[in-house]
Symmetry: D2
Subunit: 337 residues, 4 copies
Amino acid sequence: MLKVGIIGAGRIGKVHGESISKYVKNAEIKSIADAYLNDDTREWAKSKGIHEIYTDYKKILEDPEIDAVLICSSTDTHSPISIEAIRAGKHVFCEKPIDHDLSRIKEVINELGKSKVKYQVGFNRRFDHNFMSVKNAVVAGKIGEPRILKITSRDPEAPSIDYVKVSGGMFLDMTIHDFDMVRYLLDSEVEEVYAAGGVLIDKAIGEAGDIDTAIITLKMKNGTLAVIDNSRQSAYGYDQRAEVFGSLGQVAVANDSTSTAVISNGAGVTGEKPLFFFLERYMRAYALEVTEFIDAIVNNTPTPVNAEDGLQAVLIGVAATKSLYENRPVKISEIKF
Amino acid sequence: MLKVGIIGAGRIGKVHGESISKYVKNAEIKSIADAYLNDDTREWAKSKGIHEIYTDYKKILEDPEIDAVLICSSTDTHSPISIEAIRAGKHVFCEKPIDHDLSRIKEVINELGKSKVKYQVGFNRRFDHNFMSVKNAVVAGKIGEPRILKITSRDPEAPSIDYVKVSGGMFLDMTIHDFDMVRYLLDSEVEEVYAAGGVLIDKAIGEAGDIDTAIITLKMKNGTLAVIDNSRQSAYGYDQRAEVFGSLGQVAVANDSTSTAVISNGAGVTGEKPLFFFLERYMRAYALEVTEFIDAIVNNTPTPVNAEDGLQAVLIGVAATKSLYENRPVKISEIKF
Amino acid sequence: MLKVGIIGAGRIGKVHGESISKYVKNAEIKSIADAYLNDDTREWAKSKGIHEIYTDYKKILEDPEIDAVLICSSTDTHSPISIEAIRAGKHVFCEKPIDHDLSRIKEVINELGKSKVKYQVGFNRRFDHNFMSVKNAVVAGKIGEPRILKITSRDPEAPSIDYVKVSGGMFLDMTIHDFDMVRYLLDSEVEEVYAAGGVLIDKAIGEAGDIDTAIITLKMKNGTLAVIDNSRQSAYGYDQRAEVFGSLGQVAVANDSTSTAVISNGAGVTGEKPLFFFLERYMRAYALEVTEFIDAIVNNTPTPVNAEDGLQAVLIGVAATKSLYENRPVKISEIKF
Amino acid sequence: MLKVGIIGAGRIGKVHGESISKYVKNAEIKSIADAYLNDDTREWAKSKGIHEIYTDYKKILEDPEIDAVLICSSTDTHSPISIEAIRAGKHVFCEKPIDHDLSRIKEVINELGKSKVKYQVGFNRRFDHNFMSVKNAVVAGKIGEPRILKITSRDPEAPSIDYVKVSGGMFLDMTIHDFDMVRYLLDSEVEEVYAAGGVLIDKAIGEAGDIDTAIITLKMKNGTLAVIDNSRQSAYGYDQRAEVFGSLGQVAVANDSTSTAVISNGAGVTGEKPLFFFLERYMRAYALEVTEFIDAIVNNTPTPVNAEDGLQAVLIGVAATKSLYENRPVKISEIKF
């Protein structure tokens, strides 16, 4: 029975905690730490049978019984806590992104080089049943050689302006998932990126130095073309689709909804909206990613999403941001760190 | 160039006239006859280059240049004019039903036995692209041996009470198309029919001696089961679907609409309603059925829907009506005429 | 914390056990009993932390700490164990059907009249997200007054001939779920039933005295018509659909599949098959039904599916069986017990 | 009755001829001219009742009875014949593109400035029922302010290498339709274009100096972003889709197919492929565009697609080509002519 500590018991920390207690046979949550502990979190922990509740995450790292930690605290703490945890010999599951600063991600990777711990980054969409179906179809050769990948990724509602200011920009905060998806689905690295973006939803987002709408084109090293379209607000909910078009055909996935119910009446033929947001859409994916993290530890196999994957997605995001502001295609090799 | 006369230039007569002038190379409309000729019809005829316009259909039958007639007049005139036309040596396309009275249909068939003219009944749905796809899949063996056929057939709006009174009842007026479709899709005769029906839309329909909603179960001679559900009124328009389920799978067809447009918004994901009614849905089928009628004459091949088909559909309708009122399954062999 | 015993730890007993341990906060499995205990079941129980494992269910009924039992043993034991459990003051969740013999169901209901225990019957489909969407749309008035209900219910593969012989016949074994669904969706009782059936899949089923394919028409007390089509074998998997057509429109639900992936290639545009069978399709429904059972106990509210519901579904099944063999519509009021 | 001459009686010239004879009441084809007249074309003309058949198009322009000409000859002849026809006082319907050379299109526009003839360019997709539905939804405000437009446009099979060499490049030959669609659907001009492309289908296309796969991003003057993805070859047929995403929702259109038939079997749930290519998909659009051209003449109203529209689409194509080869976003205002 692996003993796990959760560092940062906010929304996503609790999601992982629930997943482990429900679905993961060979692990249990021993302790949680949250700098902003509140009664709700204490209550939640008790209901899960977690009795070690700290404000200081170091308590978890110092506990010799702890095998692994889940780093779910604020983004700026991801890389320093990662390094501390690795040094403490704990396996690490770290929420994305590892850091906005590429050199600090590099330090995490360097630290991993000196250690034997497992490290996984929280690119949950790789564990989504729909995107896995796309991947499986591509790998099975059902569409032949990929030529064009299209990803649509739109949030139902924009984050707060306060969050926007510390988010690292839309490409590092939101599109980063899509950048990882491009690498995952095409099994190739990005060579060059061109980003067109604008502020079409809320001027305040622009005033905070960010954009809210974008189209990003990526040229892959293997010649495939990819395109991502993003919006921070979608009237019909979370829109998460992908299509891979290849020499023998295309595989596409649509959104999920609560049921297959369709009402036909004088107004038309109406099905349900997509599931509202990431917690609804990716609940099963969150469960699967932590299950696979624990499995990688137990079986001593590579984690399915490693620190290098975490680095690459940020790297593409940095290049995309540069492209946006310089209004030109940017080669990944231009980004130095 | 075959010369054709149209007897009864109402809505459906004009549809066939348009089809011949647009799509049928080797035929032209020479004359029309309508007992209730009005200015619109005269105008329409002129615009099509038809200059022989009569109130008396006998003028058409007496014209030695006429090769074929389309009988599109009221139902009660179908069988007598059919017999006169056959005797006059004219090929006949007759709208459904040939007659509500089975013995009079028998007379038409007898008359055809003494003649060499072609005779086709207007079961237009056999020429619909969707139902033909179902038929083709079944014939090609794609679903194996058929086990269950389901037909949904619902009109957008009920006919006038005046029409209901002379319609012969819903089964002979509306369901007759579905009865023909059952025989066409399953390539087997009906052995027994059970009809459950009610008045759920408009009491006036009940007072006129008819029903407006029904479920009809049919046992086929080859053992397959079929079920039809009917409604005289559908809030979302004309609902015309079929599914054949067999040992290797199922083939199903849905409705057509004006476009594939789907609008996603806060209310859901909404596609268009089905095409409104038979003129919209079956326009291409109407064109194809008269084209095939003319082709059968020109090539001296059997017509695709013959008088026996016309008889069988009415026979099933009579048995269904008997079943409804006696509330028991009725064998087709019970119906004597 | 309610303490629950499982009587009959076969496939469905284990499903309920898993559900309670994963999803039901205020209940735990204390003991299981299975007349045919094997090592797999012992292992499974241990993995769930269940340490009281019996071959004799009476051990569970005699345990004063047990609050509720789940009766998941063979059908012939449902009603006698129900009565014993009620007398022992245990709340009962009983798999369907309560009994094939109506008078024995009546005895269970009589026993309940003398007791205060909760009793729920395992009509799991009422808890399916798709069928609940249909129910919600109907209750919310979105389709107006219901006129026609259509249910398609087809199993992927026929049961063994040994099972067929003790199943009580297809209507009491398989269609019983659909009969309950008719009552649930239309909120009305059945007045009359007509069943047409045949042996189209496997002669051995016929030799065992049963049928494998059927169409059942039901007239409801409120005038609505319903139709069910059943098959014991479907090449494309479990087919579980329903449509309610009403004065203002229609609500329909389709099957679920593993993902929304669609592959377009030279062969067409291909989506996934439906989920294979009941364990896949109804997993979430099974979890919800036991959750609601426990909630009904804790909150002292009526169970969502009671013994009367269990009686009615069998009653319709008995009438349908009579209809099939007498080849005539049978009124529910004809069935005496 | 307008008298029309067809210049260039190849595939598309005959399509327009058929449309006029079938659907356009107030026009007739009086003459055709084709520099490469063959027996098939002569036969076709006779079957349509066209008796004036020339190899020299000047014969048509010199005929004082001719009101309008359809220029369907090779692309290099479009602008010179346009100018001659305008000078001869004939209304002109010209296939796309008017010319690959912007200055020659400018000459056509100048010539039109001195004349009163109507001029329409053959952007047939504006008349497609699906794209019109998108346009109508946008104009009706159903999706609010547009933010992102996505167009997928893929041909089923690549043209011959001989054709590729004289095509003007994929952007002027194929994407030109999509550029026009962007302007049509968004009702705004393009400000800047960025094109990423590659040779992923056939090296010979690359050797002929062209590409076969592309993603083109467009920034509109009103701030909306648009993206087009193109492929010269699609294993599942002609893929012609569009989505407009806006502040209140999204409207999307899918492909059409021959029927709605869906076959469910052990391999999945399979619908039909899209209609094969432009002649199948756009047949109704071709009929509508010439009908509207004739209507514009008869009613003396503006044509729905004018020479300026023809110029803009080529302009975007030239900018896209420049972007591709210089690998940078190109402003439309950079293109001088």
